[in-house]
Subunit: 192 residues, 2 copies
């Protein structure tokens, strides 16, 4: 999406550790016209894939996931982060390591929300290492549901997540793929 | 909203400790037609109040807040929960006690996302004790912005939050207000 790339190039800030700050229009404050356009684009990309459910993970992916679900008219499920010690049996869980927070957490989805007949579109805001998405994929596999693919706002193309997922045969559609970013010059280039 | 009340009455489960479980259509899995209707109704209720921003708190309020923001065409901001030790000065924070988790946490909103000229509609899924909403109101006051009111899916009318807020002069619109619920019989009555 050219408009998204322009916004990232003009307004994104590169912080130490290859952190891209777009909180003022994509994450913590959300530009609603951009949100509607991104949802429409993901709907268009997955319109013929029989999607029955949108799955995301709390918290920053929920707004886009809700917008996509509204556009596609399918239910939205979000995975919670936490510890699942007391709910075994009733939930699917996967362990996810977070580079951002340097810790491992459980991703949890109650079994009643994912059925074998579901075809799931995973939606999230960022794709870098891909650990959160791999956790969600593990849960979908455990449920017997099938995966239509992943819909991502910003993929860091210089980190391995997108490549790993595509090599596993999973369709990944990222609305902007950053090929490189330079913290000193502030320059951001996109994969074309 | 009669339809919401019917869904709560037919599908809600009352758990020990006056917990109402509606996770399969309101919280963790979201019925998208219901979501769209709830957003439209909150838009209708606040259509003439000059709302410039929707504010919610992660995580379960974000989906409704995004739907309301899309309907009203204003930006969405969500407050994060966490500890704010290292970000003082750049953020507004308020301390909130959670009865559900029996702990106090910080509610955090970067200062750049709330301006004195903003008129804020607070959106959340549940209102019981009202602690989370009071934290958001404290942050809005600190920013100098004004409050249009609160838009809530389910208010537990037998708990004090709604009364406290209304006594403070804050407009609270709840799409369903539960007057009482009986864990033994499963009976739920609504305020009319």
């Amino acid at each position: 999406m050219k408009y998204l790339e322009d916004r990232i190039r003009d307004e994104g800030k590169i912080l130490p550790g290859d952190v891209l700050k777009v909180g003022h229009f994509v994450n913590q404050q959300i530009d609603i016209k951009l949100l509607a356009e991104m949802a429409r684009e993901l709907h268009r990309l997955y319109a013929r894939d029989g999607v029955t459910k949108i799955l995301t993970i709390e918290a920053s992916g929920i707004a886009l996931a809700a917008a996509v679900a509204l556009d596609m008219q399918v239910p939205l499920v979000f995975a919670k982060k936490g510890t699942s010690a007391n709910v075994a049996g009733e939930v699917y869980t996967a362990k996810v390591y977070s580079y951002t927070h340097n810790r491992t957490y459980d991703v949890i989805v109650p079994k009643e929300y994912l059925k074998a007949e579901d075809r799931v579109l995973i939606v999230d805001d960022f794709l870098a290492q891909g650990n959160a998405l791999c956790g969600l994929i593990e849960i979908i596999h455990a449920s017997g549901a099938s995966i239509a693919g992943c819909g991502i706002i910003i993929e860091k193309g210089f980190q391995p997540g997108g490549k790993l997922l595509r090599e596993r045969g999973i369709r990944v559609e990222s609305l902007a793929i950053i090929e490189s970013m330079n913290g000193e010059t502030g320059e951001i280039t996109f994969r074309t």
